[in-house]
Each structure stands twice: as C-alpha cells, then as structure tokens.
Amino acid sequence: MDAQLKRGLLDVCVLAAIKSEDSYGYKIIKDVKPYIELSESTLYTILKRLEIAKMLTVRTAEHGGRLRKYYHITKPGLKRIEEFKSDWKEIISIYDFVAKEDK
C-alpha cells in the first residue's frame, strides 16, 4: 500500500478505535490490527500527532496498581472521521470507474 495513503488511513483507524469509548494503547493496536498493520512505535507517533492536532485528549487512570493512559476523541477527531467517510464515497466512485475501464 502507498505509504502516504497508509499514513492517512492509520490516523482515521486510530480515531475510529476510540470513537465509541475511551481506549488505551494496547487495545487500540488489537482493534486496528485485523484491518491494517500497526506497530507500537507507529501508534505512539500517531497518538502524538492527533493530540497536537487536538483530535484526541489523554488522561491517566489507575489500573491494577499501575497507571494507564486513556485516549478520548474530541469534536475535531469526530469531524475527521466524517470527512474520511465522505471522501471515501468519492474514492469508491472513482474506483468503480477505473475498474470498469479494465473490464
């Protein structure tokens, strides 16, 4: 897969993983991995980028005697998901056109 395309998809996948409920690093990887390859180091970079872009917030909570960071999606993060869904409809229609040409 094209590197730039994958980078855009990974951002949205991570946001989707925290859309319905706050989540933490390991769970995000488990949720996303069936769909797209995501390493721990890549996830760290993505989470930092999304935090700087104010698409998510971070809070620390106690879990089993240790601290764990939970990530919460914000309104800009939800907006990003909606933009992706809208862009994708356009991409699918272009794909249908290109695929039709090959037949």
Binding site: G25, Y26, S41, R68, K69
Partner: protein, 201 residues
C-alpha cells in the same frame, strides 16, 4: 531481554532528545509491555513484540523536530561554573565565528545546488518557448514565406521541445534527489547530537 533491560537500552539510545519526550516514550512502552503481560504474554515475548530498539530510536529521531534536538543538546545539563561562563564569553569570538562559518558554508552549498536546479528550469522554459514560437512561426512561414523554411523551422521546434522534455525529466529528478539529500542530512545532523549525548552518558 527483560522489560527493565529494554527500557534502559531505549533510554540510552534516546539521549539527546528532550527529557520530557524520552520519559513519555518510556512510559508508553512500559505500559504497552505491562498490558501485553496482563493479556497472557511472557515478559520476554512482550518485549520482543515492541520491535528493535534501533528501529524505535530511528523513528523517534525522524519524528522529533530538528530545533528540539539542537535546543536540548545546547542546554546546560548542570549549572555552569564561573570559569566555564568566562571561557564561553572570552572564547566567543572564536566559537561564534566558527559556528557562523559552518552555517554559512552549508547554506552556500545549498544555494549553489538550488541555483543549478533553477538554471535547469530556466533553460527548460527557454526551450519550451522556442519550440512553441517555432511551431507558430513555421505555420506563418508556410502561409506567407517559404515551405522549406517553414519545414526547417518546424524541425528545429521539435528538437527544442525534445530537449525541453529531457530537461523536464532531469530537473524533476534533480529536485527529488535534493529533497532526499536534505532529509538524509537532517537525520545525519540530528544523529550527531543524539550520539554526542550518548557519549557523554
């Protein structure tokens, strides 16, 4: 490798990055390892899944802004002694002028490279202009002057357009290579400061 060994190795390799960034990364990987252990993996397996420390370090350096690394490298790790401050001030004509010379040299090299590329684009535009003008002229020559002259002009125009296509490919490739070189130099310079911190450690 145990979790403690992994985190220590990672911390050593990340020396040179701002301490806050190092602590955040260590906290992230520590939490990730603990979650994997909680999920049923052994400590060794959980650490192995984090990947190689070298890969993590490289990605961290690439994703850290150059300014942050320079600022961290030049910030004093401990309060400066009086003689160190005096030496810095007295020696400033030397180290400041050396530093400025190095910066000016790097800048000059870049200016030369980009001027060379700009020249390629100027020549490209010239050949495109000649080609287009020649085609228009050859049409006029056919109608008003001489078909032979028109044919000659048209052929020269085609040659100009052919040369401009070659220059277009060459110019585009040269731009890509300069940008790739810039990225590599960026990472190389960042690594100098990171490795300098490792040696001090």
């Amino acid at each position: 490798m145990t979790k403690a060994e992994f985190l220590l190795q990672l911390e050593n390799c990340l020396k040179g990055l701002p301490q806050k960034d190092i602590d955040e990364r260590l906290s992230f990987y520590s939490e990730m390892i603990d979650d994997k252990i909680e999920d049923g993996l052994s400590e060794e397996a959980a650490v192995k899944e984090m990947g190689k420390v070298e890969s993590i370090t490289e990605q961290s350096i690439v994703n850290t802004h150059f300014k942050k690394i320079i600022k961290e490298s030049f910030s004093p790790k401990a309060k400066l002694k009086v003689w160190e401050i005096v030496l810095l001030i007295v020696g400033s004509p030397l180290w400041v002028s050396l530093l400025l010379t190095i910066i000016a040299l790097i800048f000059a090299i870049y200016v030369v490279l980009w001027v060379a590329i700009a020249l390629i684009w100027v020549i490209f535009a010239t050949f495109v202009g000649c080609g287009v003008a020649g085609i228009i002229a050859s049409v006029i020559f056919v109608l008003k002057v001489n078909p032979l002259i028109a044919a000659a002009t048209f052929n020269v125009s085609l040659v100009c357009i052919g040369i401009s296509i070659i220059l277009l490919l060459f110019g585009t490739d040269a731009c890509k290579r300069i940008l790739q070189l810039t990225k590599k130099i960026n990472v190389f310079i960042k690594n100098i400061f990171i490795k300098k911190e490792e040696r001090q450690w």
